[in-house]
Amino acid sequence: MYVAVKGGERAIDNAHAWLAEERRGDISVPELSVDQIREQMTLAVNRVMAEGSLYDPELAALAIKQSRGDLIEAIFLIRAYRTTLPRFGGSHPVDTAAMDCDRRVSATFKDAPGGQVLGPTFDYTHRLLDFQLAADGQVGEVQKTEPNTGETPHIMGFLDREGLIQTEPEGAEAPDDLTRSPLELPASRALRLQALTRGDEGFLLSMAYSTQRGYARNHAFVAELRIGTVAVEMDIPELGFTIDIGEITLTECETVNQFMGSKTEPPQFTRGYGLVFGMTERKAISMALVDRALRWKELGEDNLGAPAQDEEFVLYHADNIQATGFLEHIKLPHYVDFQSELELVRKLRRNVQAAGQDESKGPSGGSFSGKMKEGVGS
C-alpha cells in the first residue's frame, strides 16, 4: 500500500551520503584540492567572496568544492559561516587611490597620469576553445609589468578640479551595517551600496543592462576601472594606534554620466560607483550603473518607473541567498495549505453548479451587505 511520504532521519542521512559520493565523482580521477580551486578557479572564488561578504580565498575555495561548483550554494556556505564570526571592530575606509593596480583603464581619456594598464583581461582574447589546455596547462613566459605602486590618482579627480562633476558630500560618521540592522527604506546610499556589492551578479547585470537599453537610461561612461590590492587598516583602542591587518584585492568602477541638469541641479556630470571584492569587473560596472539609476531622487530627476530606479524593488530582490531560499522552499511540503485550497475549490464549484441549477440566485445571493465586523473596513 501507499504510505505518506515521511522523510525521517534515515532518508536525510542517506541523501547526505549520496550527495557526498556525487560530489567526489569518478574516484579514478584525482580529487581537486582546495589549493587548486583557489589558484585556478580564482574568478569563481572572487564571486563567492564578494557575494558571501567575506574576504577569505581559502574558505571560498573550500565552499566551491563542497558545493560541487554551485556558486550560489557556495556563497550560502560562506554567509552562514560569516554570521558566526565575532566582530572585533570596523576598519578605516580603504584608500583606493593608493591601490597597487594590476589593471587600470579609462574609457573617457586616452591617457592620464598613472597610464592605461590592461592587466590580465579577457577583453581582447578571441573566444576560441583552447584545446591545448585540455592536453596540458603549461603557460609560456610572461612579460609582466609590475603593478603601479604608489598613488594612482582617480580620473574623477581631474573632472572634479574643473567643477564638472557633481560633488559628493563628505561623510565622517560610520554608516549603518546592512548585516547588523534590518533594512529600512528609504535607505542611505551607503546601505544601498552595501546591498549592491553583495547582490547577485546576474541580477545586477540585468538591471544595469536594462538602464542601457532605455529603462532609466543614464548615459554611463566608464571613467575608470581599476583592479589591484589595497591595505586594510584598523585602530586598536588597546594599543592606541593604527595597524595594517592585511591586504585585499578589489575592483573599483567609477562611471561618469551625462546629466542635463534638473530643477535643483545645474548641468554637470554625475557618478555611479561600484566597489567589489576580488577581480569582479562585470559586477563592479553593473553596480555603478545601478547605483547611478537609484540616485534619481537626490538629483531631482524624474521617476520613469524603471525597475532599476525602484530602490525597494532592487534592494529587496538583489540578494541571491534570500531569493534562492524562498524560491526553492516551494518544493517543501505544503499539503496542509493545498488541502485547504482543494476544499475551497470544491466548494466554489459546488456553488457554481448550484447557481446554474437555479438561475435566479447569483453567487452572492444579492443580499451581501459588505459590512465588516470589528470596523476593519474603516
Partner: protein, 289 residues
Amino acid sequence: MTDYNFAYLDEQTKRMIRRAILKGLAIPGYQVPFASREMPMPYGWGTGGVQVSAAVLTPEDRFKVIDQGADDTTNAVSIRRFFEKTAGVAVTEATAEASVIQTRHRIPELPLREDQILVYQVPIPEPLRFLEPSEVETRKMHSLEEYGLMHVKLYEDISQHGTIATAYAYPVKVEGRYVMDPSPIPKFDNPKLEMAGVQLFGAGREQRIYAVPPYTQVVSLDFDDYPFAPTKADHACDLCGATDSYLDELIMDDAGGRMFMCSDTDYCGTRRVAGHVGAQAAALAEDAA
C-alpha cells in the same frame, strides 16, 4: 556541541532577538523589524522560527518540531536535530510533553497550556503584501490603521465567488488594532489563535518578529452576513476516527481512491493508543503485518 554557542546564535544576536520578542509581545500583531542572521539552513526553511527558538530555548526545555502537523517530515526532523545538537535540549513528539513547539503551517489539535510556547515559521509576514507590494506603503497603512484594501479584496471575493476565497494564511485582527498574517496555517486553525500559550512568529528572510500573548483577542476578518467559518475535509480520520481534527487527503491507488488522516500525527497516534479506531485502520493494520 562545544563547537557552537548554546543554541547556535551568539549572545549579542540573541539579545537583539529577545528585545524584538518583548516589543512584539507589548504590541500584539505588530511586525517588529529585526536584523535576521543567515542561518545554516536556507531562507524559506524556517530561519525565522529557528532564530526565535534559539533565543527562547533554555536547557530545561523539551522541544517539539512539526511541519504540516507531523513530527517526522524531513524538515521537522532536520530542525529538531539542529537544536538537539546545538542546544542539547530534550525533544519529544508528544504535544502535551513539549514546552516549546516550533511549527510550520499548523497549530496542534491539543489545546496548548499556559506553560507552552508556540513558535511559528513565517514566509511572508505582511498580510497586505499581496495587495500592496511596497513595504513603505504597507507600513503606512498599518500606522494609519488603514485596512480598506483588505476589505475590498474580501468584498470582491464574496461578490464574485459567494465566499471569501482565502483558505490558509487567513488574515486576523489582533486586539482590535493590527491586521496580522497568522502564517500559512489553514483557516481551520484560526480559532485556536486565542490560546493560553505564548505565540511567537519569526520571518527570517523578511526580517520580522511578531507575537500574540496568551488570551489576546484574535478575530478572523469577516462580514456580518458572511461570517468566518473554519473548514476541513468533510470526513472522519480513517485511522483514529476523529471528526474534530484537520485532515490530510491521500491518494491511495491508480483509480484515485482517497483516504483521510489527521494532519497532527501526535493527536492521531494518541487517540489510536487510547483505542479509537477509524474506518480503514483495520485494513491498514493487516497491510502492515
